[in-house]
């Protein structure tokens, strides 16, 4: 009996053990499953981009770049003697950068042209010369000062005198003199309302004039660069870019830019609410007091018509944050646009950039 009892006990014990063991295994499996699934979900979330997004999609910057490079190659194919208008500003730097990419490993198959008003910020000119040397491009300078000396244009007088409008004459002359049949520019449609109506391939008649009401329709990615003798085209590869896109691209591609885009200490004075850099080209009124401020330039034109903004953005990342928060357009500091509501349209009709 005793033996039986003991046996039974053992049996019971072993059964109990068994069931405990089973439970243990069960929970281990459950836990394992649980952790495995968590792990899978986590990997999925983490690598989602690579698992799902193997779908063939470009980012907006890649797509904008592909479009611009396509247009630059189209220019090189459709025109006999194109040129790239290079001001040393961020937009033309970006265009020149993409031109390098478009024709690599060959060099850019056209020269860079700078219309020099003689009123540039010294930093811009310094940058221009270094840049041109680095990429091994050919630089042609059209000088407004020379046009003035030759009596082709007359310098404006007074406190707000600017050579901005005079550039058009020098630009058209340079185009004519070198027989350029296409001038590539860095203008963007989001900059200004008249530019919003501009084509990628913009026709200019033999006087260099733009006829905004009679533009060729531009469909798909087919660009019509046909023209008669003496006429030329302006081509704008970054038409579809915004200020933000330009800065993001500069960051992504690690492109060098003139130092005055970054925040720095500068001698300035205030004129009609705009922070102007002191310069030998500007006549200051008596009540316009020179001070020192931490500023940067959002856009670079002539020293005489480009205002600065107060800023601490001393890196591209910080500029992007600043642009994201900005409540005024970049050309808001350009007095050349403020002369009238259609200031840009009028200048463009005559052949301005």
């Amino acid at each position: 009996m005793v033996g039986y009892l003991v046996k039974k006990d053992q049996n019971e014990e072993s059964r109990e053990l068994n069931s405990r063991f089973e439970k243990f295994i069960e929970s281990v499996i459950l836990y394992a499953l649980f952790f495995i699934s968590i792990f899978l979900i986590a990997t999925f979330v983490f690598f989602e981009k690579y698992i799902l997004m193997k779908s063939y999609n470009l980012t907006h910057l890649e797509e904008l770049e592909a479009e611009a490079i396509y247009i630059l190659r189209e220019v090189a194919s459709q025109f006999e003697k194109p040129a790239l208008l290079f001001s040393g500003g961020k937009d033309s730097i970006v265009v020149a950068h993409m031109a390098r990419k478009a024709f690599w490993p060959a060099k850019i198959p056209f020269p860079l042209v700078h219309i020099d008003t003689g009123h540039n910020f010294p930093e811009t000119i310094e940058f221009r010369d270094e840049f041109v040397q680095k990429i091994g491009a050919n630089l042609i300078v059209g000088s407004v000062q020379q046009s003035i000396n030759e009596g082709k244009v007359v310098e404006e007088k007074g406190f707000n005198a600017s050579r901005n409008a005079l550039q058009t004459v020098t630009l058209l002359e340079t185009i004519e003199q070198h027989k350029f049949d296409c001038a590539i520019g860095g203008a963007r449609r989001d900059e200004e309302k008249a530019r919003a109506k501009e084509r990628f391939f913009s026709h200019r008649d033999e006087f260099g004039q733009w006829d905004p009401k009679n533009q060729r329709p531009e469909l798909w990615n087919i660009f019509n660069g046909r023209k008669d003798m003496g006429e030329h085209f302006r081509v704008f590869p970054i038409s579809n870019w915004t200020e933000m896109d330009v800065w993001q691209y500069i960051l992504k591609e690690n492109i060098e830019i003139p130092s005055i885009y970054l925040a720095h200490q500068r001698e300035v004075f205030i004129r009609e609410g705009v922070i102007m850099s002191t310069s030998t080209f500007i006549q200051q009124r008596e009540n316009e007091v020179t001070t020192n401020m931490q500023v940067r330039f959002r856009t670079i034109g002539d020293a005489t018509c480009t205002g600065a903004v107060e800023s601490n953005a001393d890196s591209i990342e910080k500029i992007i944050e600043e642009v994201a928060a900005a409540r005024t357009t970049e050309r808001g500091t350009r007095s050349d646009d403020k002369r009238s509501e259609a200031a840009m349209e009028d200048r463009k009709k005559q052949g301005y950039f």
């Binding site: 090189a76 690599w104 087919i222």
Partner: protein, 428 residues
């Protein structure tokens, strides 16, 4: 690798997709208000811009700030209070960057709508809730379908003026569905909105609890655009041949262009048309970095294993998937010029990276774009007309049907005397 230094917040800006859309509507449908609303609510209108149009509106004696002045950039447009030309506007949300082709809704400006639609992924068509489906609605829908826009969003606007009525919305929706069934529109959406009051534009409306769908902005941000490009039929129209005159790259011969379809991989067997020579892809470059595969709409430079004579206008394709080759083409054409098309006339054409000439062989019919009926007795093609024609080209073109590929299936006609672009054509 240069990107590694970019901080997280900034890098999110670098990760966005691009959506191009066009807007169309009749006069006073509230199109400008809608665009103004999208720009305003996404904080894309700047203070100085707003002040400038506020000032102009006040000077003109308008009661409210006229947001149309934002897009009407030309002097003539502002003076006449109408939009003449396609205006491009830009805004971005953390998810996507948007390009709006804002096209005028007047009857004489069909060509602008065709222009704006030609590059769009999506078309917004505005319908006045009080008027329902009118001729212009049909016209806009037809053009969107003709131009192969993958997504169409009907915005039933001014819902506030019909008491946010569900019946009104449903009635218009039904009418639009009936009309659209006759067309080839792949993906259709309907959103009841009030652009003026902001209902269902960016924020969900509290006035239309019966509407369970997405807001317009949600659609714009989330609609799947990954399949809008053809990733099946490999096509590289050769745009430019890169031959560096340098010692380092002495033997480099690169074929540059924008991929018009399919996915090319390094090592793929390819055929060059029209010559028919085959070779293998040796490398694919974007600038100085080599990539493994290339797809539409990338701009790349390709090198091949064999030395073949290739020039601009040739096309690199896969052997078992080749485009049509023909001198006789069936087209749907939209006439863009004031001078009527000359039946039997000769025009220059541009197709992908190819130039050729053509003669107009036959006008089969015109389309009444309001009713979609065929007009077979009137064969004079005037500006803004849409017609089915046949042409013969001076040399064979390498093409796909437009419905298959918007890049290899489209071409333009040019008047050889004036150099104007006079016709936009889709290959049938």
């Amino acid at each position: 690798m240069e990107n590694s230094t970019i901080n997280k917040e900034t890098s999110s800006y670098l990760d966005m997709e691009l959506l191009r859309f066009s807007t169309a509507g009749s006069v006073d449908d509230g199109k400008s208000t809608l665009i103004g609303r999208l720009l305003y609510d996404s904080k894309s209108i700047f203070v100085d811009q707003y002040e400038a149009i506020e000032e102009t509106s006040r000077r003109k004696g308008d009661e409210t700030v006229n947001l149309a002045l934002l897009t009407d950039g030309l002097r003539a447009e502002r003076e006449q209070g109408i939009t003449i030309d396609v205006a491009y506007r830009y805004f971005a949300t953390p998810k996507r960057k948007f390009i709006i082709a804002d096209t005028p809704g007047h009857i004489q400006y069909t060509r602008n709508m065709v222009t704006g639609a030609s590059t769009s992924n999506l078309s917004i068509i505005l319908v006045d809730a009080r008027q329902g489906v009118v001729e212009q609605t049909c016209r806009h829908t037809f053009i969107s379908s003709l131009l192969g826009i993958p997504h169409v969003v009907f915005c039933i606007n001014k819902m506030d003026l019909v008491d946010y009525s569900e019946e009104v919305f449903e009635k218009i929706k039904k009418d639009l569905e009936a009309f659209s069934s006759k067309l080839e529109v792949r993906d259709i959406h309907f959103v009841p909105i009030s652009a003026l009051r902001g209902d269902n534009v960016v924020n969900k409306s509290k006035n239309m609890s019966w509407y369970q769908g997405s807001t317009l902005m949600y659609l714009l941000e989330n609609i799947h655009i990954g399949s809008d490009y053809n990733h099946v039929d490999c096509r590289l129209p050769v745009q430019y041949v890169v031959r560096p005159q340098s010692d380092q790259f002495h033997d480099f011969r690169g074929y540059s262009g924008r991929i018009a379809g399919g996915i090319f991989k390094k090592g793929d067997e390819v055929v060059v048309l029209p010559s028919g020579f085959s070779s293998k892809i040796k490398s694919i470059h974007i600038y100085n970095s080599e990539i493994e595969e290339a797809f539409s709409p990338m701009s790349v430079t390709m090198t091949l294993e064999d030395d073949i004579d290739i020039s601009r206008g040739d096309m690199i394709v896969r052997e078992n998937n080749q485009p049509n080759v023909s001198q006789d083409l069936d087209l749907m054409i939209c006439w863009l010029n004031d001078k009527p098309m000359i039946n039997g006339g000769k025009y220059a054409i541009k197709h992908t990276t190819n130039d050729a000439r053509c003669i107009i062989k036959e006008v089969k019919y015109k389309v009444n774009i309001n009713t979609l009926h065929r007009i077979e007795d009137d064969k004079v093609i005037n500006t803004n007309d849409i017609a089915r024609i046949t042409i013969r080209t001076t040399r064979p073109l390498l093409f796909d049907k437009y419905s298959r590929n918007r890049i290899t299936g489209s071409l333009i006609l040019i008047n050889e005397a004036t150099n104007e672009t006079v016709g936009a054509a889709m290959i049938v």
